[in-house]
Amino acid sequence: MNLESLYQEIILDHYKHPRGQGLLDSPLGSAHHVNPTCGDELTVQVGVGSAGGLVVGYEGQGCSISQASASVMSELVSGHSVQDAETFRLAFIEMMHAKGTGEPDEEVLGDAVAFAGVAKFPARIKCALLGWMALQDAEIQSGLLTNQSEEHSP
Protein backbone atom coordinates (compact mmCIF):
# COMPACT_ATOMS: atom_id res chain seq x y z
CA MET A 1 0.00 0.00 0.00
CA ASN A 2 1.73 3.16 -1.09
CA LEU A 3 0.60 6.68 -1.87
CA GLU A 4 0.74 6.10 -5.61
CA SER A 5 -1.79 3.26 -5.39
CA LEU A 6 -4.25 5.76 -3.96
CA TYR A 7 -3.32 8.86 -5.91
CA GLN A 8 -3.17 7.48 -9.48
CA GLU A 9 -1.94 9.87 -12.16
CA ILE A 10 -5.46 10.09 -13.59
CA ILE A 11 -6.85 11.17 -10.23
CA LEU A 12 -4.25 13.88 -9.74
CA ASP A 13 -4.88 15.05 -13.29
CA HIS A 14 -8.66 15.33 -12.76
CA TYR A 15 -8.01 17.06 -9.43
CA LYS A 16 -5.81 19.69 -11.00
CA HIS A 17 -7.87 20.00 -14.18
CA PRO A 18 -11.46 19.18 -13.30
CA ARG A 19 -13.73 18.49 -16.31
CA GLY A 20 -17.23 19.83 -16.66
CA GLN A 21 -17.18 21.92 -13.48
CA GLY A 22 -19.95 24.45 -13.02
CA LEU A 23 -23.67 24.51 -12.48
CA LEU A 24 -26.42 24.14 -15.10
CA ASP A 25 -28.62 26.99 -16.29
CA SER A 26 -31.89 25.18 -15.74
CA PRO A 27 -31.32 21.85 -14.02
CA LEU A 28 -34.11 19.28 -13.73
CA GLY A 29 -32.78 18.16 -10.41
CA SER A 30 -30.09 19.24 -7.96
CA ALA A 31 -28.59 17.75 -4.82
CA HIS A 32 -26.21 19.12 -2.21
CA HIS A 33 -24.19 16.48 -0.33
CA VAL A 34 -21.68 16.83 2.47
CA ASN A 35 -19.13 14.53 4.00
CA PRO A 36 -19.85 15.10 7.69
CA THR A 37 -16.41 13.90 8.79
CA CYS A 38 -14.49 16.55 6.90
CA GLY A 39 -16.95 19.20 5.82
CA ASP A 40 -16.53 18.59 2.11
CA GLU A 41 -19.51 19.87 0.14
CA LEU A 42 -20.68 19.11 -3.38
CA THR A 43 -23.67 20.16 -5.44
CA VAL A 44 -24.55 17.96 -8.42
CA GLN A 45 -27.18 18.90 -10.99
CA VAL A 46 -28.73 16.96 -13.85
CA GLY A 47 -30.64 17.79 -16.98
CA VAL A 48 -31.34 16.17 -20.34
CA GLY A 49 -29.46 17.29 -23.45
CA SER A 50 -30.85 17.79 -26.95
CA ALA A 51 -29.73 14.30 -27.96
CA GLY A 52 -31.63 12.82 -25.02
CA GLY A 53 -28.58 12.01 -22.87
CA LEU A 54 -27.84 13.24 -19.34
CA VAL A 55 -26.22 16.60 -18.77
CA VAL A 56 -24.34 16.88 -15.47
CA GLY A 57 -23.05 19.94 -13.65
CA TYR A 58 -21.28 20.17 -10.29
CA GLU A 59 -19.60 22.57 -7.92
CA GLY A 60 -18.03 22.18 -4.52
CA GLN A 61 -14.95 22.02 -2.39
CA GLY A 62 -13.11 19.05 -1.09
CA CYS A 63 -10.09 16.82 -1.14
CA SER A 64 -8.36 15.50 -4.25
CA ILE A 65 -10.32 12.25 -4.15
CA SER A 66 -13.78 13.80 -3.91
CA GLN A 67 -13.02 16.49 -6.48
CA ALA A 68 -11.42 14.11 -8.98
CA SER A 69 -14.19 11.59 -8.52
CA ALA A 70 -16.86 14.19 -9.30
CA SER A 71 -14.93 15.22 -12.39
CA VAL A 72 -14.58 11.62 -13.61
CA MET A 73 -18.22 10.95 -12.80
CA SER A 74 -19.46 13.92 -14.81
CA GLU A 75 -17.32 12.96 -17.77
CA LEU A 76 -18.40 9.32 -17.66
CA VAL A 77 -22.11 9.95 -17.26
CA SER A 78 -22.68 12.96 -19.51
CA GLY A 79 -24.53 12.11 -22.70
CA HIS A 80 -25.52 8.68 -21.45
CA SER A 81 -28.94 7.39 -20.49
CA VAL A 82 -30.14 7.21 -16.88
CA GLN A 83 -29.90 3.41 -17.16
CA ASP A 84 -26.26 3.62 -18.21
CA ALA A 85 -25.55 6.03 -15.37
CA GLU A 86 -27.04 3.46 -12.98
CA THR A 87 -24.75 0.79 -14.40
CA PHE A 88 -21.72 3.03 -13.90
CA ARG A 89 -22.78 3.98 -10.40
CA LEU A 90 -23.38 0.42 -9.27
CA ALA A 91 -20.08 -0.71 -10.74
CA PHE A 92 -18.30 2.14 -8.97
CA ILE A 93 -19.92 1.34 -5.63
CA GLU A 94 -19.02 -2.31 -6.03
CA MET A 95 -15.43 -1.36 -6.71
CA MET A 96 -15.38 0.81 -3.58
CA HIS A 97 -16.49 -2.09 -1.41
CA ALA A 98 -14.19 -4.67 -2.95
CA LYS A 99 -11.47 -3.87 -0.37
CA GLY A 100 -8.96 -3.87 -3.20
CA THR A 101 -9.77 -7.41 -4.32
CA GLY A 102 -11.49 -8.18 -7.62
CA GLU A 103 -10.79 -6.62 -10.98
CA PRO A 104 -12.89 -3.55 -11.78
CA ASP A 105 -14.42 -3.51 -15.25
CA GLU A 106 -12.52 -0.95 -17.33
CA GLU A 107 -14.99 -1.43 -20.17
CA VAL A 108 -17.71 -0.02 -17.96
CA LEU A 109 -15.82 2.37 -15.71
CA GLY A 110 -13.21 3.88 -18.00
CA ASP A 111 -11.02 6.40 -16.12
CA ALA A 112 -12.96 5.64 -12.94
CA VAL A 113 -11.01 2.38 -12.47
CA ALA A 114 -8.22 4.63 -11.21
CA PHE A 115 -10.19 4.81 -7.97
CA ALA A 116 -9.82 1.07 -7.28
CA GLY A 117 -7.02 1.82 -4.81
CA VAL A 118 -9.32 3.99 -2.68
CA ALA A 119 -11.11 0.86 -1.53
CA LYS A 120 -8.08 0.05 0.60
CA PHE A 121 -8.49 3.31 2.55
CA PRO A 122 -11.88 3.06 4.28
CA ALA A 123 -11.84 6.68 5.42
CA ARG A 124 -11.57 7.87 1.80
CA ILE A 125 -14.35 5.76 0.31
CA LYS A 126 -16.92 8.36 1.30
CA CYS A 127 -14.87 10.99 -0.54
CA ALA A 128 -14.87 8.96 -3.74
CA LEU A 129 -18.60 8.24 -3.46
CA LEU A 130 -19.69 11.80 -2.69
CA GLY A 131 -20.30 12.81 -6.33
CA TRP A 132 -22.01 9.55 -7.21
CA MET A 133 -24.40 9.76 -4.28
CA ALA A 134 -25.24 13.36 -5.08
CA LEU A 135 -25.82 12.35 -8.72
CA GLN A 136 -28.32 9.73 -7.64
CA ASP A 137 -30.20 12.18 -5.45
CA ALA A 138 -30.25 14.78 -8.21
CA GLU A 139 -31.68 12.18 -10.61
CA ILE A 140 -34.34 11.15 -8.11
CA GLN A 141 -35.18 14.80 -7.52
CA SER A 142 -35.53 15.39 -11.25
CA GLY A 143 -37.87 12.44 -11.58
CA LEU A 144 -35.49 10.75 -14.00
CA LEU A 145 -34.82 7.99 -11.47
CA THR A 146 -37.40 6.51 -9.13
CA ASN A 147 -36.74 5.95 -5.48
CA GLN A 148 -37.16 2.17 -5.74
CA SER A 149 -33.93 1.74 -7.60
CA GLU A 150 -32.13 3.49 -4.79
CA GLU A 151 -29.22 1.49 -3.51
CA HIS A 152 -28.25 1.49 0.11
CA SER A 153 -24.77 2.84 0.60
CA PRO A 154 -23.26 1.43 3.75
Binding site: V34, P36, C38, P122, A123, R124, P154
Partner: protein
Protein backbone atom coordinates in the same frame (compact mmCIF):
# COMPACT_ATOMS: atom_id res chain seq x y z
CA UNK B 1 -26.53 -31.47 31.91
CA UNK B 2 -25.09 -30.87 28.51
CA UNK B 3 -22.65 -28.05 29.30
CA UNK B 4 -19.15 -28.88 30.42
CA UNK B 5 -19.30 -26.56 33.41
CA UNK B 6 -15.93 -27.64 34.77
CA UNK B 7 -14.25 -26.62 31.52
CA UNK B 8 -16.26 -23.41 31.21
CA UNK B 9 -15.43 -22.37 34.78
CA UNK B 10 -11.73 -22.47 33.89
CA UNK B 11 -12.29 -19.62 31.43
CA UNK B 12 -13.45 -17.32 34.23
CA UNK B 13 -10.46 -16.20 36.30
CA UNK B 14 -12.53 -14.71 39.11
CA UNK B 15 -14.40 -17.92 39.79
CA UNK B 16 -11.27 -19.59 41.13
CA UNK B 17 -10.91 -17.12 43.97
CA UNK B 18 -12.03 -17.63 47.53
CA UNK B 19 -14.00 -15.31 49.78
CA UNK B 20 -14.55 -14.79 53.55
CA UNK B 21 -11.41 -16.45 54.85
CA UNK B 22 -10.72 -19.06 52.23
CA UNK B 23 -14.19 -20.21 51.32
CA UNK B 24 -14.64 -21.43 47.75
CA UNK B 25 -16.76 -18.91 45.84
CA UNK B 26 -20.17 -19.93 44.52
CA UNK B 27 -21.34 -17.09 42.30
CA UNK B 28 -25.13 -17.11 41.93
CA UNK B 29 -25.70 -13.44 41.21
CA UNK B 30 -25.54 -13.43 37.40
CA UNK B 31 -28.95 -11.83 37.17
CA UNK B 32 -27.24 -8.70 38.52
CA UNK B 33 -24.11 -9.09 36.42
CA UNK B 34 -22.12 -11.95 34.95
CA UNK B 35 -18.46 -12.76 35.38
CA UNK B 36 -16.09 -12.40 32.38
CA UNK B 37 -14.15 -15.11 30.57
CA UNK B 38 -10.54 -14.38 29.66
CA UNK B 39 -11.56 -14.41 25.99
CA UNK B 40 -13.47 -11.17 26.61
CA UNK B 41 -10.70 -9.62 28.70
CA UNK B 42 -8.09 -10.62 26.11
CA UNK B 43 -10.07 -9.18 23.20
CA UNK B 44 -10.52 -5.85 24.94
CA UNK B 45 -6.90 -5.62 25.96
CA UNK B 46 -5.59 -6.66 22.56
CA UNK B 47 -7.67 -3.94 21.00
CA UNK B 48 -6.17 -1.28 23.28
CA UNK B 49 -2.67 -2.61 22.74
CA UNK B 50 -2.76 -2.82 18.96
CA UNK B 51 -5.57 -0.90 17.25
CA UNK B 52 -6.80 1.81 19.57
CA UNK B 53 -7.79 5.21 18.14
CA UNK B 54 -10.85 7.40 17.69
CA UNK B 55 -13.44 5.79 15.41
CA UNK B 56 -15.43 7.24 12.53
CA UNK B 57 -13.42 10.42 12.46
CA UNK B 58 -9.78 9.87 11.76
CA UNK B 59 -8.25 9.15 8.38
CA UNK B 60 -5.05 7.53 9.64
CA UNK B 61 -4.27 3.82 9.69
CA UNK B 62 -5.02 3.30 13.40
CA UNK B 63 -8.33 5.14 13.15
CA UNK B 64 -9.30 2.95 10.21
CA UNK B 65 -8.43 -0.21 12.13
CA UNK B 66 -10.29 0.92 15.23
CA UNK B 67 -13.36 1.73 13.15
CA UNK B 68 -13.27 -1.71 11.54
CA UNK B 69 -13.05 -3.36 14.97
CA UNK B 70 -15.94 -1.29 16.24
CA UNK B 71 -18.20 -1.98 13.28
CA UNK B 72 -17.26 -5.66 13.19
CA UNK B 73 -18.31 -5.83 16.83
CA UNK B 74 -21.62 -4.24 15.93
CA UNK B 75 -22.17 -6.86 13.23
CA UNK B 76 -21.37 -9.74 15.56
CA UNK B 77 -23.69 -8.40 18.26
CA UNK B 78 -26.48 -7.68 15.78
CA UNK B 79 -26.16 -11.18 14.37
CA UNK B 80 -26.62 -12.62 17.86
CA UNK B 81 -30.30 -11.60 17.80
CA UNK B 82 -30.70 -11.95 14.04
CA UNK B 83 -30.60 -8.20 13.34
CA UNK B 84 -28.74 -6.11 10.78
CA UNK B 85 -25.83 -3.98 12.08
CA UNK B 86 -27.55 -0.71 11.23
CA UNK B 87 -30.38 -1.67 13.59
CA UNK B 88 -28.10 -1.78 16.63
CA UNK B 89 -27.31 1.34 18.68
CA UNK B 90 -24.73 1.15 21.44
CA UNK B 91 -25.57 2.76 24.77
CA UNK B 92 -23.81 2.62 28.14
CA UNK B 93 -26.32 0.18 29.59
CA UNK B 94 -29.89 -0.99 29.11
CA UNK B 95 -31.11 1.81 31.37
CA UNK B 96 -29.79 4.42 28.96
CA UNK B 97 -31.46 2.56 26.09
CA UNK B 98 -34.83 2.65 27.86
CA UNK B 99 -34.38 6.34 28.60
CA UNK B 100 -33.47 6.93 24.95
CA UNK B 101 -36.86 5.45 24.05
CA UNK B 102 -38.77 7.47 26.64
CA UNK B 103 -36.99 10.68 25.67
CA UNK B 104 -38.01 10.17 22.02
CA UNK B 105 -41.53 10.89 23.24
CA UNK B 106 -40.76 13.79 25.57
CA UNK B 107 -38.46 15.43 23.03
CA UNK B 108 -40.96 15.05 20.20
CA UNK B 109 -43.68 16.46 22.44
CA UNK B 110 -41.61 19.48 23.51
CA UNK B 111 -40.42 20.18 19.97
CA UNK B 112 -43.92 20.05 18.56
CA UNK B 113 -45.39 22.18 21.36
CA UNK B 114 -42.72 24.77 20.68
CA UNK B 115 -43.41 24.62 16.93
CA UNK B 116 -40.76 22.41 15.40
CA UNK B 117 -39.92 24.74 12.50
CA UNK B 118 -38.69 22.88 9.46
CA UNK B 119 -38.18 19.63 11.39
CA UNK B 120 -40.76 16.98 10.83
CA UNK B 121 -41.80 15.28 14.05
CA UNK B 122 -43.41 11.87 13.75
CA UNK B 123 -46.86 12.20 15.39
CA UNK B 124 -46.54 8.75 17.02
CA UNK B 125 -44.10 10.30 19.47
CA UNK B 126 -46.14 13.34 20.40
CA UNK B 127 -48.07 12.71 23.62
CA UNK B 128 -51.25 14.34 24.85
CA UNK B 129 -52.71 14.13 28.37
CA UNK B 130 -55.37 11.74 27.05
CA UNK B 131 -52.70 9.23 25.91
CA UNK B 132 -51.63 6.17 27.85
CA UNK B 133 -48.46 4.15 28.34
CA UNK B 134 -48.70 0.47 29.25
CA UNK B 135 -46.17 -1.48 31.30
CA UNK B 136 -46.55 -4.25 33.87
CA UNK B 137 -46.29 -4.73 37.60
CA UNK B 138 -43.13 -6.82 37.17
CA UNK B 139 -40.96 -4.17 35.50
CA UNK B 140 -37.44 -3.35 36.59
CA UNK B 141 -37.20 0.30 37.73
CA UNK B 142 -35.39 0.97 34.43
CA UNK B 143 -38.61 0.15 32.59
CA UNK B 144 -40.79 2.04 35.05
CA UNK B 145 -39.26 5.29 36.27
CA UNK B 146 -38.50 6.69 32.76
CA UNK B 147 -42.20 6.22 31.89
CA UNK B 148 -43.30 7.84 35.16
CA UNK B 149 -41.10 10.79 34.27
CA UNK B 150 -42.52 10.89 30.74
CA UNK B 151 -46.05 10.97 32.16
CA UNK B 152 -45.07 13.77 34.55
CA UNK B 153 -43.70 15.77 31.61
CA UNK B 154 -46.58 15.21 29.19
CA UNK B 155 -49.65 14.46 31.28
CA UNK B 156 -50.05 10.99 29.78
CA UNK B 157 -51.34 8.20 32.04
CA UNK B 158 -49.37 5.14 33.13
CA UNK B 159 -51.23 1.82 33.04
CA UNK B 160 -49.99 -1.64 33.91
CA UNK B 161 -50.74 -5.33 33.62
CA UNK B 162 -51.22 -6.78 37.08
CA UNK B 163 -49.85 -10.13 38.24
CA UNK B 164 -51.42 -13.34 39.44
CA UNK B 165 -50.18 -15.19 42.52
CA UNK B 166 -47.80 -17.31 40.43
CA UNK B 167 -46.15 -14.14 39.15
CA UNK B 168 -47.63 -14.23 35.66
CA UNK B 169 -49.15 -11.31 33.78
CA UNK B 170 -52.91 -11.10 33.98
CA UNK B 171 -53.68 -10.75 30.29
CA UNK B 172 -57.44 -11.03 30.66
CA UNK B 173 -57.93 -7.28 30.20
CA UNK B 174 -55.29 -6.81 27.51
CA UNK B 175 -57.70 -5.38 24.97
CA UNK B 176 -59.00 -2.68 27.29
CA UNK B 177 -55.61 -1.94 28.88
CA UNK B 178 -54.02 -1.45 25.47
CA UNK B 179 -56.55 0.67 23.62
CA UNK B 180 -56.70 3.49 21.10
CA UNK B 181 -55.18 5.92 23.62
CA UNK B 182 -52.06 3.77 24.02
CA UNK B 183 -48.86 5.17 22.50
CA UNK B 184 -46.27 2.86 24.06
CA UNK B 185 -46.31 -0.68 25.38
CA UNK B 186 -43.08 -1.63 27.14
CA UNK B 187 -42.81 -5.07 28.72
CA UNK B 188 -40.02 -7.15 30.18
CA UNK B 189 -39.23 -10.34 28.28
CA UNK B 190 -38.08 -12.25 31.34
CA UNK B 191 -38.59 -10.81 34.81
CA UNK B 192 -35.39 -10.25 36.76
CA UNK B 193 -37.15 -10.96 40.05
CA UNK B 194 -39.82 -13.57 39.30
CA UNK B 195 -38.14 -15.37 36.42
CA UNK B 196 -41.41 -15.29 34.46
CA UNK B 197 -41.04 -15.36 30.68
CA UNK B 198 -43.79 -13.21 29.17
CA UNK B 199 -45.72 -13.83 25.94
CA UNK B 200 -44.21 -10.70 24.42
CA UNK B 201 -45.21 -11.56 20.86
CA UNK B 202 -48.92 -11.42 21.65
CA UNK B 203 -48.49 -8.17 23.57
CA UNK B 204 -46.47 -6.57 20.77
CA UNK B 205 -49.10 -7.65 18.25
CA UNK B 206 -51.81 -6.01 20.32
CA UNK B 207 -49.67 -2.86 20.62
CA UNK B 208 -49.36 -2.72 16.86
CA UNK B 209 -53.10 -3.22 16.42
CA UNK B 210 -53.68 0.09 18.17
CA UNK B 211 -50.71 1.80 16.52
CA UNK B 212 -48.56 1.94 19.67
CA UNK B 213 -44.78 1.58 19.72
CA UNK B 214 -43.87 -1.84 21.12
CA UNK B 215 -40.83 -2.18 23.38
CA UNK B 216 -39.34 -5.28 24.97
CA UNK B 217 -36.80 -5.19 27.80
CA UNK B 218 -34.50 -8.08 26.89
CA UNK B 219 -32.01 -7.70 29.76
CA UNK B 220 -32.77 -11.12 31.20
CA UNK B 221 -33.68 -12.94 27.99
CA UNK B 222 -30.91 -12.16 25.49
CA UNK B 223 -28.14 -13.50 27.78
CA UNK B 224 -30.05 -16.65 28.67
CA UNK B 225 -32.03 -17.95 25.70
CA UNK B 226 -32.01 -17.77 21.91
CA UNK B 227 -33.73 -14.49 21.03
CA UNK B 228 -34.69 -14.00 17.41
CA UNK B 229 -35.71 -10.42 16.96
CA UNK B 230 -38.13 -11.19 14.14
CA UNK B 231 -40.18 -13.54 16.28
CA UNK B 232 -40.29 -11.14 19.24
CA UNK B 233 -42.06 -8.62 17.06
CA UNK B 234 -40.86 -5.57 18.99
CA UNK B 235 -40.09 -2.18 17.47
CA UNK B 236 -37.38 -1.67 20.07
CA UNK B 237 -35.54 -4.11 22.34
CA UNK B 238 -32.60 -3.49 24.64
CA UNK B 239 -30.20 -5.36 26.84
CA UNK B 240 -26.91 -4.89 28.72
CA UNK B 241 -23.52 -6.30 27.83
CA UNK B 242 -22.37 -6.84 31.41
CA UNK B 243 -25.01 -9.52 32.07
CA UNK B 244 -23.80 -11.64 29.13
CA UNK B 245 -20.06 -11.93 29.72
CA UNK B 246 -19.29 -8.48 28.31
CA UNK B 247 -17.57 -5.52 29.96
CA UNK B 248 -19.37 -2.93 32.03
CA UNK B 249 -20.30 0.27 30.22
CA UNK B 250 -22.08 -1.08 27.16
CA UNK B 251 -25.71 -1.71 26.36
CA UNK B 252 -27.46 -2.45 23.09
CA UNK B 253 -30.63 -1.07 21.59
CA UNK B 254 -32.24 -2.81 18.66
CA UNK B 255 -34.73 -0.78 16.63
CA UNK B 256 -36.42 -1.40 13.31
CA UNK B 257 -35.09 0.91 10.60
CA UNK B 258 -38.48 2.51 10.38
CA UNK B 259 -38.67 3.39 14.07
CA UNK B 260 -35.05 4.52 14.39
CA UNK B 261 -35.57 6.85 11.44
CA UNK B 262 -38.72 8.26 13.01
CA UNK B 263 -37.30 8.86 16.50
CA UNK B 264 -35.75 12.24 17.26
CA UNK B 265 -32.19 12.06 18.59
CA UNK B 266 -31.51 11.71 22.31
CA UNK B 267 -27.93 12.67 23.15
CA UNK B 268 -26.57 15.23 20.70
CA UNK B 269 -23.04 16.34 19.90
CA UNK B 270 -20.18 15.04 17.79
CA UNK B 271 -20.42 12.08 15.39
CA UNK B 272 -24.23 12.11 15.25
CA UNK B 273 -24.55 15.11 12.95
CA UNK B 274 -24.80 15.63 9.24
CA UNK B 275 -24.38 19.42 9.00
CA UNK B 276 -23.76 21.91 11.80
CA UNK B 277 -23.87 25.67 11.78
CA UNK B 278 -23.87 27.67 14.97
CA UNK B 279 -27.61 28.18 14.60
CA UNK B 280 -28.88 24.78 13.57
CA UNK B 281 -27.91 21.19 12.81
CA UNK B 282 -29.11 18.18 10.88
CA UNK B 283 -28.49 14.62 11.93
CA UNK B 284 -26.87 11.49 10.52
CA UNK B 285 -28.95 8.39 9.87
CA UNK B 286 -29.26 5.71 12.58
CA UNK B 287 -27.37 4.15 14.29
CA UNK B 288 -24.98 7.17 14.24
CA UNK B 289 -27.85 9.53 15.09
CA UNK B 290 -28.03 7.91 18.53
CA UNK B 291 -24.31 7.61 19.21
CA UNK B 292 -23.15 11.09 20.17
CA UNK B 293 -19.60 11.50 21.38
CA UNK B 294 -16.78 9.04 21.62
CA UNK B 295 -18.43 5.62 21.87
CA UNK B 296 -17.66 2.61 24.04
CA UNK B 297 -15.30 1.16 21.46
CA UNK B 298 -13.26 -1.22 23.59
CA UNK B 299 -16.42 -2.37 25.35
CA UNK B 300 -18.07 -3.20 22.01
CA UNK B 301 -15.03 -5.24 21.05
CA UNK B 302 -15.19 -7.04 24.41
CA UNK B 303 -18.89 -7.71 24.15
CA UNK B 304 -18.45 -9.13 20.65
CA UNK B 305 -16.01 -11.63 22.13
CA UNK B 306 -18.63 -12.49 24.75
CA UNK B 307 -21.19 -13.05 22.03
CA UNK B 308 -18.81 -15.35 20.17
CA UNK B 309 -18.18 -17.27 23.40
CA UNK B 310 -21.91 -17.82 23.88
CA UNK B 311 -22.41 -18.73 20.23
CA UNK B 312 -19.71 -21.35 20.47
CA UNK B 313 -21.60 -22.96 23.33
CA UNK B 314 -24.90 -22.40 21.53
CA UNK B 315 -27.81 -20.48 22.99
CA UNK B 316 -30.09 -23.52 22.79
CA UNK B 317 -27.62 -25.36 24.98
CA UNK B 318 -27.41 -22.40 27.37
CA UNK B 319 -31.21 -22.34 27.71
CA UNK B 320 -31.37 -26.10 28.18
CA UNK B 321 -28.67 -26.00 30.84
CA UNK B 322 -30.50 -23.23 32.68
CA UNK B 323 -33.83 -25.04 32.44
CA UNK B 324 -32.27 -28.09 34.08
CA UNK B 325 -30.72 -25.90 36.80
CA UNK B 326 -34.06 -24.17 37.34
CA UNK B 327 -35.79 -27.48 37.76
CA UNK B 328 -33.20 -28.58 40.28
CA UNK B 329 -33.32 -25.25 42.16
CA UNK B 330 -37.11 -25.27 42.41
CA UNK B 331 -37.12 -28.79 43.81
CA UNK B 332 -34.37 -28.31 46.40
CA UNK B 333 -35.84 -25.00 47.54
CA UNK B 334 -39.40 -26.24 47.88
CA UNK B 335 -38.07 -29.22 49.84
CA UNK B 336 -36.89 -26.85 52.59
CA UNK B 337 -39.72 -26.19 55.07
CA UNK B 338 -40.42 -22.48 55.48
CA UNK B 339 -39.14 -21.52 52.03
CA UNK B 340 -41.62 -19.93 49.65
CA UNK B 341 -40.90 -19.24 45.96
CA UNK B 342 -41.95 -15.81 44.68
CA UNK B 343 -42.66 -16.49 41.00
CA UNK B 344 -43.72 -19.46 38.89
CA UNK B 345 -43.28 -22.76 40.70
CA UNK B 346 -42.51 -24.79 37.57
CA UNK B 347 -40.05 -24.43 34.71
CA UNK B 348 -42.89 -23.68 32.28
CA UNK B 349 -42.19 -20.29 30.68
CA UNK B 350 -39.78 -19.24 33.36
CA UNK B 351 -36.07 -18.55 33.42
CA UNK B 352 -33.44 -19.37 35.98
CA UNK B 353 -33.64 -16.32 38.25
CA UNK B 354 -35.41 -17.67 41.31
CA UNK B 355 -36.63 -15.48 44.16
CA UNK B 356 -37.77 -16.79 47.50
CA UNK B 357 -38.51 -15.80 51.06
CA UNK B 358 -37.76 -17.77 54.22
CA UNK B 359 -40.34 -17.63 56.99
CA UNK B 360 -39.10 -15.64 59.96
CA UNK B 361 -35.94 -14.47 58.24
CA UNK B 362 -35.20 -11.24 56.49
CA UNK B 363 -33.48 -11.67 53.10
CA UNK B 364 -30.52 -9.60 54.27
CA UNK B 365 -29.91 -12.11 56.99
CA UNK B 366 -30.32 -15.08 54.65
CA UNK B 367 -27.86 -13.46 52.24
CA UNK B 368 -25.39 -12.78 55.04
CA UNK B 369 -25.29 -16.40 56.14
CA UNK B 370 -24.90 -17.56 52.54
CA UNK B 371 -22.15 -15.02 51.98
CA UNK B 372 -20.38 -16.29 55.04
CA UNK B 373 -20.34 -19.71 53.39
CA UNK B 374 -18.96 -18.26 50.14
CA UNK B 375 -22.29 -18.25 48.31
CA UNK B 376 -23.03 -14.95 46.55
CA UNK B 377 -26.75 -14.29 45.99
CA UNK B 378 -28.69 -11.09 45.69
CA UNK B 379 -31.01 -9.79 48.41
CA UNK B 380 -33.30 -6.80 48.20
CA UNK B 381 -36.08 -5.57 45.94
CA UNK B 382 -33.99 -6.22 42.83
CA UNK B 383 -34.99 -2.84 41.40
CA UNK B 384 -38.52 -4.18 41.14
CA UNK B 385 -40.01 -2.64 44.23
CA UNK B 386 -43.63 -2.65 42.97
CA UNK B 387 -43.33 -6.40 42.38
CA UNK B 388 -42.26 -6.90 45.99
CA UNK B 389 -45.21 -4.82 47.17
CA UNK B 390 -47.52 -6.97 45.02
CA UNK B 391 -46.33 -10.05 46.88
CA UNK B 392 -46.38 -8.35 50.26
CA UNK B 393 -42.67 -8.75 50.91
CA UNK B 394 -40.11 -5.99 51.47
CA UNK B 395 -37.47 -7.96 49.62
CA UNK B 396 -36.49 -11.44 48.44
CA UNK B 397 -33.38 -13.56 48.19
CA UNK B 398 -32.55 -14.39 44.59
CA UNK B 399 -30.51 -17.19 43.08
CA UNK B 400 -29.51 -16.54 39.48
CA UNK B 401 -27.14 -19.04 37.89
CA UNK B 402 -25.43 -18.95 34.50
CA UNK B 403 -23.33 -21.14 32.25
CA UNK B 404 -20.59 -21.55 34.87
CA UNK B 405 -22.90 -22.95 37.56
CA UNK B 406 -23.95 -26.52 38.19
CA UNK B 407 -26.21 -28.40 40.59
CA UNK B 408 -23.56 -28.52 43.29
CA UNK B 409 -23.64 -24.71 43.44
CA UNK B 410 -27.38 -24.80 44.00
CA UNK B 411 -26.96 -27.44 46.66
CA UNK B 412 -24.49 -25.27 48.52
CA UNK B 413 -26.99 -22.42 48.45
CA UNK B 414 -29.71 -24.73 49.77
CA UNK B 415 -27.44 -25.91 52.58
CA UNK B 416 -26.81 -22.27 53.39
CA UNK B 417 -30.51 -21.53 53.71
CA UNK B 418 -30.90 -24.36 56.19
CA UNK B 419 -27.84 -23.08 58.07
CA UNK B 420 -29.48 -19.63 58.23
CA UNK B 421 -32.66 -21.08 59.63
CA UNK B 422 -30.63 -22.87 62.27
CA UNK B 423 -28.46 -19.87 63.10
CA UNK B 424 -31.49 -17.69 63.72
CA UNK B 425 -33.46 -20.51 65.33
CA UNK B 426 -36.38 -20.34 62.92
CA UNK B 427 -36.26 -23.81 61.34
CA UNK B 428 -39.91 -24.95 61.28
Amino acid sequence: MSLDVVRIKKDFPLLSRTVRDGKELVYLDSGATSQKPYQVLDAERAFYETSYAAVHRGAHALAEEATIHYEDARSAIAGFIGAAPSNIVFTKNATEALNLCAYAFSNATSLSRQGAGSRSIDPRFILKPSDSIVISEMEHHANLVPWQELCAKTGATLRWFSLDDEGRLDLSNMDTLIDSTTKVVSIVHQSNILGTVNPVRAIMDRAHEVGAVGIVDGCQSVPHMPVDIASVGADLLMWSGHKMLGPTGIGCLYGTSEILDAMPPFLTGGSMIEMVSIETSTFAPAPQKFEAGTPMVAQAVGLAAGVRYLEEIGMDEVAEHEAALTDHTLSVLTAIPGVRIIGPSTTFERGSTISFVVDGLHPHDVGQVLDNLGVAVRVGHHCAWPTCRRFGVPATTRISPYIYNDESDIDRAAAGIIAAQEFFGVAP
